[in-house]
Amino acid sequence: MGGTMRTKRKAMRGSVVRLAFLWAAVAFGGPAGEAAAGDVAIVVSKDNATDELSFKELVKVFRQERQYWHGGERIYLIMHETGAQEKQVILERIYKMDEQDLKKFWLGKLYRGEIASFPKTFSSNQAIERFVSQVPSAIGFIDATFLGEDVKVLRIDGKLPGEAGYALSSSPLSR
């Protein structure tokens, strides 16, 4: 009888341990997955004193409601050409409008005298990276997979491209 009871208790302990392992496997999953491809990185020159922006500040910079860095230099906003995939992320997350509405947006600001010229655009990630790396007060955005070593990537709300919860990820799940 005693042996039978010991055997039963041993079996029960084994079941509990197995269940615990099973629960841990389901809760914490397997090896962590890679960040979604196509995150948009906000880049500035390495000579720019700014290391990070909150998402709200980023929106103000891109809407040109804020036009000067804290050091007093004029912010030169550099954009992608119409149709670029990176620009679609920016249109959706920051401007919350489509390309045509964005053009009307710039037109209204110029008409009101809030800006005196439209933001400059470049045709490629590499061109933007080269330009931004040489102009300390410029800010642009590129596909994070094209990042080189000549520019600095700004943290947005404390996060870099590829990190969970990054505001400009192309993955809809990270919003």
Partner: protein, 449 residues
């Protein structure tokens, strides 16, 4: 039991490191996610190839041009892009971007215009006719990192009183100003500007493409009224001014942004239709202040208040009749709210014009306001409604058709038929307490170029 433990261990391994067949996504959502990721990776690979080819093409073009003896950077222009500089950029302090990338400071020109057809029923009169609205040009230039310039001109048709002619063409200098920006907190503008009243006057002006409706709200009609069918006159507020303006924006305790404007200017002319562009008729300057707040909690909302103080000179010969002796001390108070979010537009403004007429030693109060709402129903169609009211028959500064007491209901729809061209259809009913009611139906096309 040993056998079951082995089976269980095997199950745990499979769960943690699934075999390819077991890792295959299940469910429609997982399948779609997997497909999207594959396409994204393939897209990136292709884009990298394209960029490598673009760089190689550029290098080859530089060599070709160098061999051909041409100067200047090779370009690979597409659409609206800027030529990529071929030389290293050396940014000098204060230098405008255009010089930095090898070009002269440049000017941006945009044009606005509108024209239309209207039908008016007033008393026993039915009028109909085509009209050409203001056709204007706005020139802007970023002269250097701190200084910018704006010039706005238009060709305008408006009524000439006391002549046998209905209209005459007029070339207006609507705005001409220099702005020096110290920071986001302070910029100083000198010249002829739109007076900081409310939201509408600073956002929408000559050329109706940017705004939803055909007509401006009555209370902020221009000093020189329009000659559209109902012969509306304006000038209740000094919508233009010439002087200095200090303005800026500042975050306020994470609650939102505060915008301010402080202005000092020549002030009003003895005639509402005249703007003191080159002179100040009296010895007094006008002052105005605007405070506006954009709360973080409500995205797209702006609320604000305005105050304007001036001394209006008396109106004696050689100015046109009626004569008005004695200066007028004027105070204008205004509040406004504007909400633009997603597809919704709401603008509301109210003004009280309080004047002390020294000629008759009397105080008068005139008022006016409007409420406008619009909704982007589809990509191209935006219906709108506006209610205007005016009670401006107390002041001796206003004369003739400016003396009004009425409410106007406007309902219309804006159709963005083509890129940069909108067609608007509007019906207006004016319930007039001083004369008969009127009905107006208008069709308008507005455009920018």
């Amino acid at each position: 039991m040993e056998r079951w433990n082995i089976v269980f261990a095997g199950f745990m391994v499979a769960l943690w490191f699934p075999a390819p067949s077991m890792a295959a996504p299940t469910g429609e959502l997982e399948v779609l996610k997997s497909q999207v990721e594959s396409l994204q990776q393939e897209n990136q690979h292709l884009r990298k190839q394209m960029e490598r080819q673009a760089t190689l093409t550029e290098q080859l073009m530089q060599k070709v041009e160098a061999l051909a003896g041409k100067e200047g950077p090779a370009v690979l222009q597409t659409g609206e892009s800027v030529e990529e500089p071929s030389q290293p950029i050396v940014k000098r302090e204060g230098e405008p971007m255009e010089l930095t990338i090898g070009r002269l400071p440049k000017m941006t020109v945009i044009g606005f215009g509108d024209m239309g057809l209207g039908f008016l029923h007033f008393q026993s009169l039915d009028e109909q006719g085509f009209y050409v609205g203001a056709q204007g040009f706005t020139f802007t230039s970023q002269i250097n990192d701190r200084l910018s310039f704006l010039l706005e001109t238009d060709f305008h048709l408006h009524a000439q009183p006391f002549t046998p002619f209905d209209t005459f063409e007029h070339f207006h200098l609507q705005r001409a100003n220099l702005t020096y920006t110290f920071s986001d907190l302070l910029k100083v503008t000198a010249g002829k500007i739109h007076t900081a009243f409310g939201y509408y006057n600073q956002t929408y002006h000559h050329g109706t493409y940017l705004e939803s409706s055909i007509y401006r709200p009555d209370i902020i009609e221009f000093e020189v009224g329009d000659i559209l069918l109902d012969r509306r006159a304006g000038g209740y507020l000094p919508t233009h001014t010439v002087g200095l303006e200090f303005a800026g924006t500042k975050g306020f305790l994470e609650a939102g942004d505060v915008n301010y404007v402080l202005g000092v200017s020549n002030g009003r002319s003895p005639l509402t239709a005249s703007i003191e562009t080159n002179r100040n008729t009296n010895d007094t300057l006008a002052f105005n202040v605007q405070l506006a707040f954009k709360p973080e909690l409500v995205e797209g909302l702006r609320i604000g208040m305005d105050y304007y103080l001036d001394k209006i000179p008396q109106r004696v010969e050689p100015f046109a009749a009626p004569v008005r002796r004695g200066d007028i001390r004027e105070h204008i108070f205004g509040v406004h709210a504007a909400y633009f979010y997603d597809k919704t537009e709401v603008i509301a403004e109210v003004y009280a014009i309080r004047q002390h007429d020294k000629g008759i030693n009397a105080d008068t109060v005139d008022s006016g306001g409007f409420f406008q709402t619009a909704y982007q129903l589809t990509e191209k169609w935006r219906p709108y409604f506006r209610f205007d009211y005016l009670d401006t028959n107390a002041s001796r500064y206003f004369t003739g058709s400016q003396l009004r007491k009425d409410s106007t209901y406007s309902v219309g729809v804006r159709w963005d038929a083509l890129v940069w061209n909108a067609i608007k259809f509007e019906y207006r009913y004016r319930a007039d307490q001083m004369t008969d009611d009127s009905h107006t139906v208008s069709v308008n096309t507005s455009y920018t170029f």
